[in-house]
């Protein structure tokens, strides 16, 4: 018996023979509208970055202003000696880069072998350790920030790269273990067993088989750790107080704090540092999602 279907039904499920043109149009309209909402704020940043300095704040909603200029980018990158505007952009970028790359590296180094142990061995203490790792995923960075800060003060690591690297590693190390363990779980143990029958030890099976197979996973964990700390502001603000140590979010915030003139430079700087990371993210988000769900669903 053929049921008469409501508009809502056809809207959400379509018929198996394909959607009607009318319905397709509505779906496209809805998606176009949502896409505009999703990207409009990003386009606004771009638009503000193109405006000449004297009217960076404007009530116009046009994306490309009629008097578009790249002056803001020039100011952010190179400053303007004639107006005594100094540019620290490359310094901030370097600070960010050193801190972020090291954090990501430390995360991978410390977690690669541990994740393997968690994935393959059933040893006393494994269960509690896994629960502990899972719990650390839920702790806000702000919670351990105070003791970490006090530690860093005691160890004279405030205003240093190492201080911020340590503060970031608090979240990146457990996260890396968790994601990598999820990945190792997907590699069938038969591979190593075959190798072990051929006389390889556990350790050489790990180095010869697992590590080469999980190179993509190691790269992805590196990327996640990188993106996680690349644009971090809250922790950096506490640990780095000297201007010459600023990472780029701290540096850009000095623009955002001022009015009119700096809004354009703030936007230009944001575009310069955000676009590469966004491309990286769009490229790697697939793995992030599978990593997160693997970790959380499979325990």
């Amino acid at each position: 018996m053929q049921q008469k279907k409501s508009l809502a039904y056809r809207f959400f499920h379509g018929s198996r023979r394909g959607d009607s043109p009318f319905k397709r149009m509505w779906i496209h309209l809805a998606l176009i509208f949502s896409s505009i909402i999703a990207i409009y704020p990003v386009l606004r940043i771009f638009s503000i970055s193109l405006r000449p300095g004297d009217r960076a704040l404007s009530t116009s909603l046009a994306i490309i202003p009629p008097d578009a200029t790249l002056r803001n980018y020039q100011l952010v990158l190179f400053g303007d000696p004639s107006r005594h505007l100094r540019s620290d952009f490359f310094l901030w970028l370097w600070n960010s880069l050193s801190i972020t790359v090291t954090t990501a590296l430390v995360g991978v180094i410390l977690s690669a072998t541990a994740a393997y142990a968690f994935s393959r061995f059933r040893f006393p203490g494994r269960g509690p350790a896994m629960i502990f790792l899972l719990t650390t995923q839920m702790i806000p960075a702000a919670m351990l920030l105070l003791p970490i800060y006090m530690m860093l003060v005691r160890f004279h690591m405030i205003n240093s790269y190492l201080g911020l690297i340590i503060a970031y590693s608090v979240t990146s190390v457990p996260f890396s273990i968790w994601i990598l363990k999820g990945y190792y779980d997907t590699i069938p143990p038969d591979l190593e067993e075959a190798a072990r029958i051929d006389g390889a030890t556990y350790l050489s099976a790990f180095y010869r088989i697992i590590l080469p197979l999980s190179t993509p996973a190691l790269v992805i964990v590196f990327l996640f750790n990188f993106m996680g700390s690349w644009s971090e502001y809250i922790v950096a603000r506490v640990v780095l107080q000297k201007q010459d140590m600023y990472t780029w979010p701290l540096g850009l915030w000095t623009y955002a704090g001022q009015y009119t003139l700096a809004a354009g430079r703030f936007a230009a700087g944001s575009i310069l540092v955000a676009v590469p990371v966004m491309i990286l993210f769009l490229y790697s988000s697939k793995w992030l999602v599978s990593g997160l769900t693997l970790g959380s669903v499979k325990g």
Partner: protein, 400 residues
């Protein structure tokens, strides 16, 4: 006047290289020690006294070394450090000479975990212990050098959390209620928004990949940049929202001055930021649902509404439950959006727990109090985490 120079680049590479070398050395020492503990046994019975004695002494030496390595950077104990390291290495050699091989199955597991354990010890366990200690002191900016430790300080701190103000004006309960409201509203809209978009996208059609990429933008843009820029969009004169309101002939809203509208502003911002994550997760879940279920349901005469609730929702649950819980924790802990858009203002009326914790510690310098406050928040999250483990079956999987 500091800009980036070659000197600066070389200096920072030196600092970081040194840091990495120290880490590798620490790990190597620990691994060598663990190797002896797990894989070697005394050659003869009578050697056991020296063997195990040295192992115990070395364990203590190792802990002392780790501590010194951290402090030694600026203290005159460098010679002590070198001496200790020398003693440690020599005693490892002695233990090795006294010993013979033994077989073990689990030794490797602990050897593999050791580097991560080292990291977790310094990054989480030690700070956590320190936080508990701080909660029982009167540490504040004035007393930072020599805070007094005592049970009475701890009691005062914890009492202050529940009865006093967490920043200047707001009380703990007020902020807690707002945090729950913030989490529930956000997660609700994240899931519904993500669900609608995922349902729209879950069909063969043109431009599907493009829509998906564009819709993920709010998640791809660094959160700090998004928050800093959205703050400008709530500007009374030039912000996007008021320009739009004026455009359709309505009164502009003073978003960041009015406490209620400020809360609406941060919620709108965070909803915008959070929908793509849920969309991607739900879309993944929808794609794993076989078409046959819908065909069967259609045969039985189920309408769209019934199909959604009786086929889609139950089959999405394994994906949705962890995503919702993860999303709730992230929203609960999200300090960026509120701190960067309103800084918790006006009059602390948009503060949530983590932002007031951050402010109590780093704007008001109430260290002892903040430590106690952090522990209270931790207990809330722990309870939530346990519920999470139970629901997601994580516990079972962990012990499998």
């Amino acid at each position: 006047m500091i800009t980036l120079t070659w000197q600066r680049i070389i200096d920072s590479l030196g600092i970081i290289g040194e840091f990495l070398i120290v880490i590798v050395l620490l790990v190597a020492l620990l691994e060598a020690y663990l190797y002896l503990v797990f894989y070697r046994k005394p050659r003869q019975k009578w050697m056991g006294v020296f063997f195990y004695g040295l192992e115990v002494i070395d364990a203590a030496a190792l802990v002392a070394l780790f501590y010194l390595m951290l402090v030694a950077a600026k203290t005159p104990s460098a010679t002590l450090l070198q001496g200790g390291a020398l003693f440690f290495v020599i005693s490892l050699v002695v233990i090795f000479l006294l010993s013979t091989r033994r077989t073990t199955k689990l030794g490797l597991a602990y050897l593999l975990i050791a580097p991560a354990f080292l990291g977790i010890l310094f990054l989480i366990l030690y700070p956590f212990g320190y936080e508990i200690y701080l909660a029982f002191t009167n540490a504040a900016l004035r007393t930072m050098r020599h805070p007094a430790f005592g049970l009475q300080y701890g009691l005062t701190n914890f009492k202050d959390v529940f009865t006093g103000t967490v920043a200047h004006k707001a009380t703990f309960w007020e902020v807690l209620i707002r945090t729950i409201l913030w989490t529930v509203i956000n997660v609700f809209f994240h899931v519904t928004g993500g669900m609608v978009l995922a349902l729209l996208l879950n069909r063969p059609m043109k431009l599907r990949g493009l829509y998906r990429t564009l819709l993920v933008f709010p998640w791809a843009i660094p959160q700090t940049i998004a928050a800093m820029s959205l703050r400008n969009e709530f500007n009374y004169m030039y912000g996007f929202f008021n320009v739009m309101l004026r455009g359709v002939g309505l009164q502009p809203i003073s978003w960041l001055q009015n406490p209620h509208w400020a809360f609406v502003a941060v919620v709108i911002s965070n909803i915008w930021l959070g929908i793509p994550f849920m969309m991607v997760i739900i879309l993944g879940g929808l794609q794993s649902i076989s078409k046959e279920y819908y065909e069967a349901a259609e045969m039985d005469g189920a309408n769209a509404w019934h199909q959604f609730w009786n086929v889609t929702m139950p089959l999405l649950r394994p994906v949705l439950t962890p995503a919702i819980i993860l999303g709730s924790v992230w929203t609960f802990n999200n300090i960026n959006v509120i701190y960067l858009i309103t800084q918790g203002g006006p009059q602390e009326r948009t503060d949530i727990l983590v932002t007031s914790l951050y402010k109590a510690a780093f704007s008001f310098y109430r260290y002892g109090f903040s430590a106690a406050f952090a522990l209270v928040i931790f207990v809330f999250l722990l309870a939530f985490a346990l519920v999470y483990l139970r629901i997601s079956g994580g516990l079972k999987a962990v012990y499998e």
